[in-house]
């Protein structure tokens, strides 16, 4: 089921949570809404589900305008961060709930509901736990049951609100892989919300990066990581180092030295340079490079993070060096970013 979000705005008591958001979700796609808290990602998800009405704009399911349809009519599967399992029902009853509450004309027989529940339990790899109660399950198992319950109604769209947010890191990674497998097997159009970029980049076909009620960038993991289109995305996804630079005649200048990077499309004036700490080349001499004095160095996993004082202690940047690099305190290092982007200072401030 294609889902199309067209110019949607949502205000809460005069506080705008979403500002003119448009997004096309293709059928069978696994899409992640990624952003810091307060970016409007959960609001957007609840709008798609119909748990909240949009202030303006429309949401289409396929060709039909679903904006003002009730939650029940939209037939979506919703998985909550805190599971929201019915505590007084067994696992099988929880999964069968969506079928049990159907009007009698379309309600399957009791034995059929039970059979469906067992089938879904097999799918989420929890066979044998049908008669347990939610409080007898671990967090990861509960979330699997919640997903099985959402799948039971054969939803047109599957919506997950920070599904792994309440779980510990180990279980999260496990469930991530498992969710991908389930998605590939069932092929539901799936939208999930997360503030964990690793989760979004690893799991989703496309990532929607959101900030302050707007969509900043939509793209695959490679797009948003390698080609961030805004200072926010650069700063939010992955590590980034930032330097204030000056643009003059298409060349980037750091203080009074050119750093050997050309940006012909940028207007002259102040700008901000973004690059990844590990995407640099080290240079020996320095004609057209960034050079600085080592101020601090830390060992991080398989590499060494070095903080450089550039241009007389006024700015600090981080770069990554191999662990066997002989850099010590106060030694001078020259480098040039391999992949970088500069944004005019005005947009960087905004």
């Amino acid at each position: 089921m294609d889902v199309s979000i067209r110019h949607v705005c949502k205000d809460f008591e005069r506080f705008p949570a979403l500002k003119d958001v448009s997004l096309d979700i293709r059928s069978g796609e696994l899409i992640a809404l990624l952003g810091p808290s307060g970016s409007g990602k959960t609001t957007l998800l609840r709008l798609i589900a119909g748990l909240e009405p949009p202030t303006r704009g429309a949401i289409f399911f396929g060709d039909e305008d679903a904006s003002f349809k009730s939650v029940q009519e939209r037939n979506v599967g919703f998985v909550f961060q805190h599971y929201a399992l019915f505590r007084h029902m067994t696992v099988a009853e929880n999964i069968g709930f969506g079928l049990k509450v159907r009007p009698s004309s379309s309600r399957p027989a009791k034995s059929e509901i039970r059979r469906r529940a067992h089938e879904l339990l097999d799918l989420v790899q929890l066979s044998g736990l049908a008669d347990r109660y939610p409080n007898q399950l671990s967090g990861g198992q509960r979330q699997r049951v919640a997903l099985a319950r959402a799948l039971a109604i054969e939803p047109r769209v599957l919506l997950l609100d920070e599904p792994f947010g309440a779980l510990d890191a180990q279980v999260r990674r496990e469930l991530r892989r498992w969710l991908r497998e389930i998605h590939d097997a069932t092929n539901h159009t799936t939208v999930f919300v997360t503030h964990d970029q690793e989760e979004a980049l690893e799991l989703a076909d496309r990532v929607v990066v959101m900030s302050q009620g707007r969509i900043e960038q939509v793209g695959g993991a490679d797009d948003v990581y390698d080609r961030p289109n805004s200072p926010f995305v650069y700063g939010f996804i992955g590590d980034s180092s930032v330097l204030p630079v000056k643009v003059d005649d298409g060349q980037l200048w750091l203080h009074d030295r050119t750093i050997g990077l050309a940006a012909p499309e940028l207007p002259s004036g102040q700008a901000t340079l973004y690059f990844r700490p590990h995407e640099i080349e080290l240079l020996d001499g320095c004609s057209g490079c960034i050079s600085g004095v080592v101020a601090a160095s830390r060992r991080v996993g398989g590499s060494r993070r070095v903080e450089l004082e550039v241009g007389g202690a006024r700015d600090r940047v981080e770069i990554e060096l191999p662990t066997d690099h002989p850099a010590t305190q106060k030694s001078r290092i020259a480098f040039r970013p391999l992949r970088w982007r500069a944004f005019p200072a005005v947009s960087a401030a905004a």
Binding site: L51, V76, F86, G98, A152
Partner: protein, 302 residues
């Protein structure tokens, strides 16, 4: 060297012994004297103000033997008082159950203007003297009021009749169910309900299959307290009942009348029934708290 070691042992030896003799003193425990004083005070207070009166009720009731006790309870006026009390509770408690659940549902699950005011209003019967609660209905339905004569001309007696007693009882016991449910339902939030409607359940199905089971023990607890108060209410009922024997006397009013007539055995016999109700309520309440404490107080995460 060897000498030194021996010396050390002689020095350490007695010290070790003395620590072994003196038991470890817990930092949170008082000395025996303080303990005895505090416990005597607490138990004495409890005995004098709670156990003694309760025992007195039963002793007085059976002073002239079981036969007299049964005779007192078999008095037609007393039987009609018991019947009236049960009738009033049977009307007031279910109504308060419905109002209480509705009010708690509205307050806990929805945001609207005037919510704080509504919560305060629900608490009103707790803060108003029961006599005033009764007087309200006298003013509303009395002979000089707007409503009273009009209702009377249509053959409906409110004051000094069963409807008045029911109204006063409902007013006095109104907060019990709602007060019990509001914190519980607020704590549970709206997650379960949202899950249910996203699975296609209608509002009524959501309430019946999800909300109600989540609050059932808290609801029972509230109903229990509400019932105890409904049967035991004196002040408000006394004002509106008119004390007509065999017609508008509830059990507490009957006790008062019998006592004023120096019919002590009968007065205390009826009292034992009320005391018995209180004891049964207490036992049930304790059982609910013991067995389903977390589901009554909320805060239980599943």
């Amino acid at each position: 060297m060897a000498l030194d070691i021996v010396r050390e042992e002689t020095v350490l030896g007695p010290a070790r012994l003395s620590t072994a003799k003196r038991p470890f003193k817990r930092p949170t425990t008082e000395g025996p004297v303080a303990k005895a004083v505090l416990m005597t005070l607490a138990l004495g207070f409890l005995g004098f103000f709670l156990v003694l009166p309760l025992a007195a009720v039963f002793i007085e009731a059976f002073r002239k033997g079981l036969g007299e006790f049964m005779l007192a309870l078999g008095d037609p006026d007393t039987i009609s008082a018991i019947k009236l009390t049960l009738t009033v509770a049977a009307i007031a408690v279910p109504l308060n159950l419905v109002f209480g659940v509705a009010a708690a549902w509205a307050i806990a699950k929805f945001e609207f203007k005037g919510k704080t005011f509504l919560i305060t209003l629900i608490d009103l019967p707790f803060s108003v003297s029961p006599v005033i609660s009764g007087l309200i209905y006298v003013l509303l339905f009395g002979a000089n009021s707007m409503l009273g004569p009009w209702l009377k001309s249509h053959g409906i007696e409110v004051l000094f009749a069963v409807p008045g007693i029911v109204l006063a009882t409902i007013f006095v016991t109104f907060p019990f169910v709602a007060r019990e449910l509001i914190p519980l339902m607020q704590d549970q939030g709206t997650g379960d309900e949202e899950a249910a409607i996203s699975l296609g359940a209608s509002g009524w199905q959501t309430f019946w299959y999800v909300t109600l089971p989540n609050i059932k023990w808290g609801l029972l607890y509230g109903v229990l307290l509400c019932n105890a108060r409904a049967m035991g209410e004196f002040g408000a009922v006394s004002v509106v009942s008119g004390h007509i024997r065999g017609l508008t006397n509830t059990m507490p009013l009957q006790v008062e009348i019998l006592y004023n007539e120096y019919n002590f055995v009968a007065a205390f016999a009826v009292s034992t029934l009320l005391a018995g109700l209180a004891l049964v309520t207490l036992v049930l309440k304790s059982f609910l708290e013991y067995r389903y404490g977390d589901e009554i107080a909320g805060s239980a995460k599943h």
